[in-house]
Amino acid sequence: MPLLDVKDLSVTFARRGQRTVRAVDGVSFSVEAGQVVGLVGESGCGKSVTSLALMGLLPKQRGVTVGGSAIFADDTDLLKTDERTMRDIRGRDVAMIFQDPLSSLNPVVPIGVQVTEVLTRHRGMTGDAARKEATDLLNKVGIPDPTRRLKEYPHQLSGGMRQRALIAMAVACKPRLLIADEPTTALDVTIQAQILELLRGLVRESGTALIMITHDLGVVAGICDTVNVLYAGRVVESARRKPLFAEPRHPYTHGLLGSVPRLDSGRGEKLHAIRGSVRDVLPWPDGCAFAPRCDRQVDACVGEPPALVEGIHRHAYRCVNPEPATAEVSS
């Protein structure tokens, strides 16, 4: 059994006087312990909402509906657990790392207090024991001079340090599942690589499962074992990393890969930008949401939404006219 099994997750936002938005629409994927699973897509495809739904952090208001199931560790459905139990699970079994490390830290409280409060909350550590553990944690995530850093405030740390501190807080209780929502987006390229390396090390060392949410295919190539490509709230392609990069079947994945500049392409050769923007999407029930922006659009794309087709090596895609498979690839 996988550590986390997400089945048919859907999230809708209904506001009075406005069109109901189905931000996540029947997303299924599973995560094994020690594995890195990527959720990839451009802004507005529902990847952040997916992570917030799994953490139970979506605003509890009328109009926000979460459906489906997310079975964690064989017995707990993260989507149906009550708030009180979720508060115990969050930070202890499942933790999350956010995109912007500066705004995710409290500006008026020293780093040390913010790290130790997690230890106090879930591991009952106080005083010197908590301080010592916090020092060890900062050390483990690669923050030099941790005793001094504990007394400092977030604005005194560099962006990379802040993200390291947040990672230290997230892994403080050795969670079994870590969700990283664009953890490198706000950082410099050199720092990005360091943070990815740190995350990969943590996963390898402790067997933590990691859900990596990103729009950056470089991150996917560097760290993910399996990848789910999201478009307009649905998984459009899902595969292990290598086949996905070597042989993308869905035109959207193909387009994403084509819009990354490559060193081996000729000078002056144009990048393959995907036409239009996310606003052009079709509602899924009317056909393939990507159809208006797709180069391979055929008549069958409109009318009936395409189903997820599973090919060889659990490579699945949601397309009636997929990119041709090149035979030599195997995984």
Binding site: E83, G91, F98, S103, P107, V108, V113, K151, L157
Partner: protein, 319 residues
Amino acid sequence: MSVKTDKIDRLSELSAVKQEEQGVSLWTEAFRRLRRSPSAIIGASILLIFVIVAIIGPWVAPYSPTDTIGIREGVVKSGQGIIPGASAEHWLGYDHQGRDLFSRMLVGARQTLLVGVISTLIGLTIGAIIGGIAGAAAGLGGRVGRWVDNVLMRFVDIMLALPSLLLAVSIAALLGASLTTVMIAVGLVSVPIFARLLRGAMLAQSGGDYVLAATSLGVTRRRIALTHIVPNSLAPVIVQATLTLATAIIEAAALSFLGLGNPDSSVPEWGVMLADAQSYLGIRPGLAIYPALGIIITALGFTLLGEAMREALDPKLRK
């Protein structure tokens, strides 16, 4: 976002190089900015003098503030309109009962400061409790919380709907005219401001990323409210408290002037002195001018300092 982050990065590196101090909090930084602001310096100087006078006034006053020397010596005949002005012995002259005006001004400073501070504290405490509970409930408490917030805020709305003078007069009617009445009345009038300010700041903060991050780590709601949201919401409340000190002193003087203050005029208080002076405005306007100046300058000091603090603590103006 990243440009801003970069900027702050560079700034923090610079300041880290410049000084070796550990743990520079936002407050330390705000204080440093405050020291560079001229209006803060002027305001603080005025207040420093005022506070010193309030503390040592009774000891340095040349005469007793209650001794009716002028009448005893026969120089003051207020019934006939004779109230001598400034002289070498009596720097500001006599009041209508023959007491030394300069001594009364010095001693009165303490009462005025006391009224200002205590009434502001009353308003701040009650307002912060109501606003804090409402803000925490609305921000983190779900459906029940929103209900609690609604009840508390409608209560505050009711307080806001009552004219402050009417409120003060009713309190005076209940408790009798005294300095305590004035302090309670002035304090209660400022409750809605503090309550709304703290609630608003807390609501704005509870949508913050760091609150979401703390929630994602399982930190309890009580702890999130107390160690994360409240400290981040205090800045506007502190600024408002400084500004309220100014208005509290003026309002207290106004209530005393209307006769709701201490009926025993032997205890000098600037507002009461002002009230007493009104029958003698034609004969000796100084009786009104000096207490009025005292009130105005003190209020100005608090206002200058408050405005400077507002600027120093405003994250948007931070360079």
